[in-house]
Subunit: 428 residues, 2 copies
């Protein structure tokens, strides 16, 4: 039977789950993958006290762990970008394969690290960096290796999907839903990176590199967070036949790649709209196949550990196809070219002629109005002074025209406050 | 760059799509998989006329094609079990890896063929045999290699999913929906293997072997077809919050594996219930991860070709983990142990006391009634003489008790005609 000697740093939830799985149930990968995985050492600055299994060898010098002659592969689970990067580089330079769950590291320094790995004739596994236990990296770089990806659209952050689902289903506001997510352990004490879209954008950057053979370039991802979504928007979306999800979207058009992550209306007819709770899902659309969708838990120690260990088994069996990453064919660009249908919500003074004026502004920009809702004022719970909300679904518009439209609308006397705008994903 | 010399037999839709992809767009797998795939020869009994690309070498003796010294891997796409089996055996004995899309072959002769492959130190790829372009085999034997599968539930036959979806959405009967599937090229002229559940059952047998390390044993799969589903059942299911899907189900319980494929009510809250048209989807529930779901087109020349070529790239990169197939730990058994909640539809004489009598028969068997629908006779489109349909959703019951219950119900004077019964899948 093939075997692999493993060194691991990071003894938090995921690291502990990996160690538990490898030491308590080693027969699973032997039986199902034909591979024996042996934990040789654990790097933990706090020493033995940080490791549940007292029989494991613990070293407090993490650099020593990453460079040990006794290991074949180094598993990096400490997170963050500084020390993690240094340790991964040490391991690669010492001829160790690396497995990591660190999305920030790959999204930001992927190219550098893959270059270093290639120079040292070793490989890097990062299945656990996107969608936890759901094997989307594998699907993208192996299962769909014979197909050309046109676009992907994914719910890649479980915390925000939980919050949006809670708000929509229970008619609660953002703060209540966030508190519940924190109570259930689904959100960090400081949830900024989830809420503002950073986490999803990092994952999107990784998917784009694999799907479109562009560099790992997190800086080129444009993104926004779910703090822009009000309960009112969720209710209007529902009325119009949509869910609001935080969607990471990447597409390739004539050699140009755009990657972004924003709250987005998703048509109820698409599977993505049905993904509730803290679940993740990714729709990958290829020229040859059409859409394939991958759904599962995007986080949690055991699912993430399952992905880390699957990478170890893959390494023992020869690793992954050598994709030409960072090739010069496709270019990533922050300027988003693709037009989307869009949702607009305006606070309009309850005066004759306001709707006519709004419609004419849309007409001037040559944007079609596909749906418009203005409820009778008496239906509204709180009639904000003398304004009423008007919701418009438009035909496809690009970013540039959308900005211009919003400026024109906001300069109208009849419109109070900022105009809300979200994209619509309808898979066309 | 790694390279692989390919020989292929079978020049139907899938074979032609594979040849087109390999000869017209060879750069895809070079760029995305680091592999050069070269078609060395095509076996076609009719000779050159059967092959679109006139530059390819064609041999009319298929046995010669399978054993050629010039090839590394033999791609079997002729279908059926006799000649296909002989050719695959010739290829394996001659030290060729094999890639096939032939579900019947793997489901029926898998163990024999994998044994022969092992003896000859070669491998067999069969991603295309289940769910076409959606990489479910890869997910199961690589992505989830570190997890223990508890059960799987899948919509594995596109033709029948199209028919059931059409019936349900457009309120048409079976014959009309089948005709439409045939007109759209989604159903064969003789659709028996799809309609009666054979095709889905073969695929379920393949999934079970991978998920539970049992032999490929199609004979141990119990199955039934969608011809048992009336439009009336689809409408009652909808009223009760379910879709009816043809679900292939496999589960492991204390070392015992059951595999089956039947029309099944699926709760509207589950993603599987939302899978429309000719799409496939597979829910795999693991102890460590919970459910992951894989959705995509289950057939079609291009998606299937994509899976065949992905297998070729995998082979060039070292192939697949050596799973202990046919191990002695888990046993497959045709006797289904798992209890399911169930749907019953009875034609009951419109007489006082009938419902009371039915309820008491359920009570005698200790089966709970979770829901019951009996519409007023005037609501029914056709009042069949003096009977009314009664629909009951029961708590969980096993097969044995269900048969006894149905016998008792059918022997009642108040019940006309056969009792309809379907399982309910609610993921519990």
């Amino acid at each position: 039977m093939k075997s692999l000697k493993v060194g691991l740093c990071g003894t938090g939830n995921v690291g502990s789950a990996v160690l538990d799985a490898l030491t308590k149930n080693p027969e699973i990968t032997q039986k199902q993958g034909g591979v024996q995985l042996e934990v040789i050492l654990v790097g933990a600055r706090k020493g033995k006290s940080a490791v549940r299994n007292k029989e494991l060898k613990v070293v407090t010098d993490l650099r020593q762990a990453a460079s040990s002659d006794d290991i074949d592969v180094f598993v990096e689970l400490i997170g963050g970008c500084e020390l993690a990067k240094e340790l991964v580089e040490i391991a690669l330079r010492n001829g160790k394969d690396v497995v990591t769950a660190n999305k920030a590291l790959i999204a930001t320094h992927g190219d550098e690290l893959f270059k270093l790995a290639k120079e040292n004739k070793v490989q890097i596994g990062f299945e656990a960096s996107v969608a936890g236990g759901t094997p989307v990296i594998k699907a993208l770089r192996e299962g769909l290796v014979a197909s050309r990806v046109q676009w992907f659209a994914g719910i890649l952050n479980g915390t925000t999907n939980f919050i949006l689902s809670e708000m929509s289903e229970n008619n609660t506001n953002f703060d209540v839903a966030l508190k519940e997510a924190q109570d259930l352990g689904l959100a960090e004490t400081d949830p900024t990176m989830d809420i503002d879209g950073t986490d999803a954008a990092q994952k999107a950057s990784i998917l784009a590199a694999l799907a479109f053979q562009v560099p790992f370039e997190f800086d080129s991802v444009s993104y926004g967070g779910i703090d822009q979504v009000d309960l009112e928007d969720l209710n209007y979306a529902k009325e119009l036949g949509y869910s609001i999800k935080h969607i990471a979207y990447g597409n390739l058009n004539e050699g140009k790649v755009n990657v972004s992550a924003y709250p987005t209306l998703v048509s109820k007819e698409l599977l993505l709209s049905q993904v509730g709770q803290q679940m993740n899902a990714l729709d990958i659309c290829c020229e040859e196949i059409g859409s394939t969708v991958y759904y599962g838990p995007g986080a949690g120690p055991k699912p993430t550990a399952s992905a880390v260990i699957a990478d170890l088994v893959d390494l023992a069996n020869g690793g992954w196809p050598a994709q030409e990453s960072g090739s010069q064919v496709n270019k990533i660009s922050k300027k988003i070219i693709k037009p989307f249908p869009r949702y607009f919500r305006l606070e309009v003074k309850n005066e004759a002629g306001a709707i006519a004026k709004i419609s004419s502004i849309f007409a001037e920009e040559n944007i079609s109005i596909e749906a418009l809702i203005q409820h009778e004022a008496k239906k509204l719970k709180e009639s904000l002074q003398d304004t009423v909300p008007v919701v418009i679904i438009s035909g496809s518009v690009d970013e540039e025209v959308t900005s211009r439209l919003i400026s024109s609308l906001e300069s109208m006397d009849e419109i109070n406050s900022q105009v809300k705008q979200f994209r619509i994903h309808n898979a066309l």
